[in-house]
């Protein structure tokens, strides 16, 4: 690991003053990065992919930014709440099951005890060329250098939202759940506080795969707001992977359903493991609205969701895997017994 200075943040104001870069530029040796659970950051620092010269440990802010609060409006999750804390929360599991499921199915028990929600949504791709600095060609790590995955090992790479510059998949699970529930992300920065739809936090790679989010320099994620709604309770996360536990998604689907008998009053769908960023499948939602939900209509919606999929050889199976994952998630959500 390269040398860095370590500091603990005494209070949030100090964090904003001192954080010149949130998380946008992955490869450039940014002077300072914030350290939460460290399970992405330290890993990538050991691999020499991320090169901060100063780490600001924000965990001392946990007392202010680590709470889970539920009221009539919905749920507010502090950015420093740990994954395990939210996955095990009885109210979250009952009122917003897709959130708890997406967290419980992610990583391992130890990692979930360490990792925070804010760090989780900002985790980096698992593309092996990104993680291995002995490959020169990686536009995300080394802008303008090319993309080794296009003609390389790309079995786990994305089929939606790709560009000719990067096809890395967004690896996380929780982001899809937040997206399906129309969550809002709260941010504090040098210019004060702001909030935006969670769906606007991540960027597709386009011609700048190194810029992964819309966070501005110095901005800190402080919380996620998840509105209450008739769909929240009937929500489900289905994750398909190479082994039964402790693996990233080959394909996943977060769905939230509002049913009127067997008709779909409203549905929200977000897809994971298949796209370059957390992916909302709005066209598939529209295809299901007002329809009777059964295997045939679910499959038609899944066809729509993957209509624009582009594969790269080793991941030719992804669209079919993704479609079946989505169909399963929809039918499982339909069968949920809601108290």
């Amino acid at each position: 690991m390269r040398p860095f200075a370590y500091e603990r943040v005494p209070d949030p104001a100090a964090a904003q003053r001192a954080v010149p870069v949130g998380s946008s530029s992955a490869a450039a040796p940014v002077p300072t990065m914030v350290l939460a659970g460290g399970t992405t950051l330290l890993d990538l620092m050991k691999l020499d992919v991320l090169r901060p010269e100063r780490l600001l440990d924000i965990r001392p802010l946990e007392s202010r930014l680590g709470a889970i609060r539920l009221d009539g409006q919905g749920l507010r999750l502090g950015a420093l709440a740990r994954m395990a804390q939210v996955a095990d929360d009885v109210e979250v599991r009952r009122e917003f099951p897709v959130l708890a499921e997406s967290l419980a199915l992610a990583a391992s028990a130890q990692l979930r005890n360490m990792a925070t929600l804010g760090g989780n949504v900002l985790q980096r791709t698992r593309c092996s060329y990104y993680r291995d600095v002995s490959y020169a060609a990686c536009n995300k790590r080394n802008p303008g250098s090319g993309c080794a995955a296009l003609d390389g090992y790309n079995r786990l790479h994305a089929v939606l939202g790709t560009s000719e510059h990067c096809i890395a998949s967004y690896p996380g699970d929780f982001a899809q759940a937040l997206m399906a529930l129309d969550a809002v992300v709260e941010i504090e920065g040098p210019q004060g506080g702001r909030s935006m739809p969670f769906a606007e936090l991540h960027r597709a790679p386009g011609d700048r795969p190194d810029i992964e989010t819309t966070l501005r320099p110095g901005e800190l994620i402080t919380a996620f707001q998840v509105p209450a709604g008739p769909w929240a309770k009937r929500s489900r996360y289905v994750k398909v992977r190479d082994r039964q536990s402790y693996a990233f998604a080959a394909a996943s689907a977060a769905v939230a359903l509002d049913l009127d008998g067997d008709r779909v009053r409203g549905v929200r769908i977000a897809l994971g493991g298949v796209a370059t960023r957390p992916w909302r499948a709005t066209d598939a939602e529209a295809a299901l609205a007002g329809q009777r939900l059964d295997e045939a209509s679910a499959m038609r919606a899944a066809e729509v969701a993957f209509r624009d999929a582009r594969t790269h050889g080793e991941n030719d199976d992804k669209p079919e895997l993704g479609r079946r994952t989505l169909v399963r998630a929809l039918l499982e959500a339909q069968r949920m017994e809601i108290a």
Partner: protein
């Protein structure tokens, strides 16, 4: 199309990658070494003052600086669970925890489980009784993780144990006996 061969990460490749970095990055001044920081780590109920480079992980602090070699280094990347310790009673990975960040927290390692009279923790005893290891390399991590698993309430069934112990890999595949040991230790832990 033939995929480019997957190279060895780290040492072997670093030179080539550096050469390929854009000028703006290459022109950065050489990183500064930072002086050692003095910390007091509370481990197994005792305070240990240590002076460490900020880069030192909790795992390296335990193994290389404090002669507590029970926690093992399997992958050093958060993937195998061999380095599992308890931090304020919660199981965490020592290889992805900075020693500096562990200051102010209560750390428990495998060395801290036995009683003052040498009596083994019920989980240690159960691993012996159920032959829950072969080479033993993963065992300290398995035992620390298993204690966390029971305390979190995630050892309710063999399926539950398998799921919530999936962060601890065992190259010898002692898994069935590990599950049996945890099932046996759970009531003993609740009694104790």
């Amino acid at each position: 199309m033939t995929p480019p061969p997957l190279g060895r990460r780290g040492l072997f490749g670093a030179g080539a990658a550096m050469a390929a970095l854009p000028d703006a990055i290459a022109a950065q001044p050489a990183p500064q070494e930072h002086p050692a920081m003095t910390h007091t780590l509370r481990i197994n109920g005792r305070a240990h003052p240590v002076a460490l480079d900020p880069r030192v992980t909790l795992l390296d602090a335990l193994r290389e600086h404090l002669a507590l070699t029970g926690a093992k280094k399997g992958c050093d990347q958060g993937q195998c669970g061999a380095c599992t310790v308890l931090l304020d009673g919660r199981r965490v990975l020592a290889c992805l925890t900075l020693a500096a960040a562990a200051e102010g927290h209560e750390i428990t390692t495998i060395e801290g489980l036995a009683g003052p009279d040498g009596a083994l923790h019920p989980m240690q005893q159960a691993f012996l009784d159920h032959d829950a290891y072969q080479c033993g390399y993963c065992t300290p991590g398995q035992i620390m993780s298993a204690i966390g698993c029971v305390q979190e309430g995630h050892a309710e069934s063999p399926e539950d144990i398998r799921e919530y112990m999936s962060g601890n890999l065992c190259r010898c595949a002692a898994y069935p006996n590990i599950v049996a040991a945890i099932e046996a230790a759970k009531p003993q832990m609740q009694k104790a």
